[in-house]
């Protein structure tokens, strides 16, 4: 199982890097899809089956399809030629790296003090999540529908062609 | 109308040695199996321009039913088809299109010229009509008639099936075939 974890993590990291560094948008999308599928694997490892499936449906099945769709529709395949100097790119890489180091350093402190909770295996199951979602988080759940509607309206408004 | 100008498209049916000698048993039976498979699954690309196209519709129809030979799946995409059926007059304007389609088809491919117009120009011996498609692409089987009856079209397909079934697997890589293609300026 540990092997599985490392393999998935490696896939994720490699794909994520590929997303950042590959120039072709279509390849980006495909790497990201692989990355997300690996992430679904992580969720299954964490015994969050429901989340894993929903993750695949939402991210790979809907969001990334949208990305791909837009890329196809607009024919964005031509990679934008990077006109930034190398300095900028190196700066970006260094910034990212430093950020990573800082975060690691910051979280390292907490690692020693984590308490071990008893591992309940049914946390990720449908019933548990459902119960929590519809009791504790009922209001945010309903609010999210409003968010969705506004996003939908916004998207349609943006996407509409000018009549004139 | 010399032999040279219209090269013989029919592959020489090699006396394939059965058994261990020569190609070996496996190769021979493989060849046979592939030949059988190909011949029973000829997907035509109907390049139907005129009258013969209507007769081809009749061939596809219930009375004649080309499906019996496994050829009812018409594919208008040249990549997916095995058999280019040229039906009807091919004008000089159409010539390059036909050639392009032939080139786009995936090997192995066969061509059948249905009807007088496609085979020789028929009654249209005019300035605008190509006098037989064998000037631009190699033709395997000619079907006479103007338009041919569906029976004749089916005959032509059976003839093609014989060719296909007997074709050696190596033919498409052979020198002879390369020469043929060179004659038509195709690589």
């Amino acid at each position: 199982m540990i092997f599985l974890f490392y393999m998935l993590s490696a896939i994720m990291i490699i794909c994520a890097l590929a997303v950042v560094f590959s120039k072709n948008p279509i390849n980006n999308v495909i790497y990201l899809i692989v990355c997300f599928i690996a992430m679904a694997g992580h969720y299954i490892l964490l015994n969050a089956q429901f989340l894993a499936v929903v993750h695949i449906i939402v991210y790979t099945g809907a969001i990334m399809v949208l990305f791909l769709f837009v890329i196809m529709l607009l024919n964005l395949n031509k990679a934008i030629i990077l006109r930034k100097s190398k300095v900028t790119r190196i700066t970006a890489v260094i910034t990212g790296g430093i950020f990573f180091l800082v975060l690691v350093a910051a979280t390292r402190q907490t690692f020693e003090i984590h308490p071990r909770y008893p591992f309940a295996s049914d946390i990720g199951l449908l019933t548990q999540i459902g119960k929590v979602l519809f009791s504790e988080f009922l209001l945010p759940f309903e609010m999210s529908s409003i968010l969705f509607i506004s996003a939908m309206v916004g998207a349609i408004m943006f996407g509409k062609k000018d009549e004139h | 109308m010399s032999e040279k100008q219209y090269p013989k498209m029919a592959p020489t049916v090699a006396e394939t040695p059965e058994g261990v000698s020569g190609q070996g048993f496996f190769a021979t039976s493989m060849e046979k199996a592939v030949g059988l498979a190909r011949k029973n699954s000829l997907w035509p690309l109907p390049f139907a321009t005129s009258c013969c196209g209507i007769e081809f519709m009749a061939t596809m129809g219930a009375h004649y039913d080309l499906a019996r030979f496994g050829s009812e799946r018409l594919s208008f995409s040249p990549r997916q088809s095995d058999l280019l059926m040229v039906m009807g007059t091919v004008a000089k304007k159409m010539g390059p299109v036909l050639r392009e389609i032939y080139i786009q088809m995936a090997e192995p491919k066969w061509v059948i010229a249905v009807g007088a117009c496609a085979s020789s120009g028929g009654i249209f011996d005019t300035y605008s009509v190509l006098q037989g498609i064998d000037r631009i692409i190699p033709v395997d089987v000619y079907v006479p008639g103007c338009p041919p009856r569906p029976e004749q079209i089916i005959d032509g397909i059976i003839k093609i099936q014989e060719l296909v079934g007997n074709e050696s697997l190596r033919r498409r890589n052979s020198k002879e075939y390369e020469d043929l293609m060179k004659q038509y300026n195709m690589e």
Partner: protein
């Protein structure tokens, strides 16, 4: 078939001669319909007049085709007009010299004349002035010559499965 209606024919001839006078060279009733020969300079106006006249109402261009008169060194265009309302058909002919075959277009009156004029251009080389897109339509673009002129050979010169000597050529 087409009934010849003398009154209508006379009416057409009268109206046209009133309006165009000398430009209407000849009018005769051939086998089935009235046939007018018109000077090429006024062809567009004549047809426009026939189309717009409230009484004649030639609202339909049946067909338009070219002609070649090799003995006269002339090219011709023949128009067939049809009035649905009166069920009356007439034929209008005009001629242009082979050396300068220019004619004004009638695509402004009927868009259906577009391709027919292109075809006529292609076959005979008659240039329709004012045509939106006067190009070859049926043959390959880089073809030379005008195939329907009498001196153009019909046969494909490259075929080899026929022996011309058998067919009296």
């Amino acid at each position: 078939m087409f009934e010849i209606i003398p009154e209508r024919n006379q009416l057409v001839v009268k109206k046209l001669t009133d309006c165009f006078g000398e430009s209407i060279e000849r009018s005769e009733v051939l086998a089935d319909m009235l046939c007018l020969t018109v000077k090429s300079a006024v062809i567009q106006e004549v047809i426009f007049f026939l189309h717009n006249d409230k009484e004649l109402q030639f609202n339909f261009l049946t067909t338009l085709c070219g002609m070649h008169y090799p003995d006269r060194e002339q090219l011709g265009v023949v128009y067939h007009l049809h009035s649905f309302e009166n069920n009356h058909r007439i034929r209008i002919k005009t001629e242009v010299p082979l050396s300068d075959p220019k004619l004004s277009t009638i695509t402004t009156i009927w868009p259906s004349a577009n391709w027919q004029e292109r075809e006529t251009f292609e076959f005979y080389g008659i240039i329709f002035e004012g045509h939106p897109n006067l190009q070859r339509i049926l043959n390959v673009d880089d073809m030379e010559g005008f195939p329907m002129r009498k001196d153009f050979p019909l046969e494909d010169q490259t075929r080899d499965d026929k022996d011309d000597s058998f067919f009296g050529r």
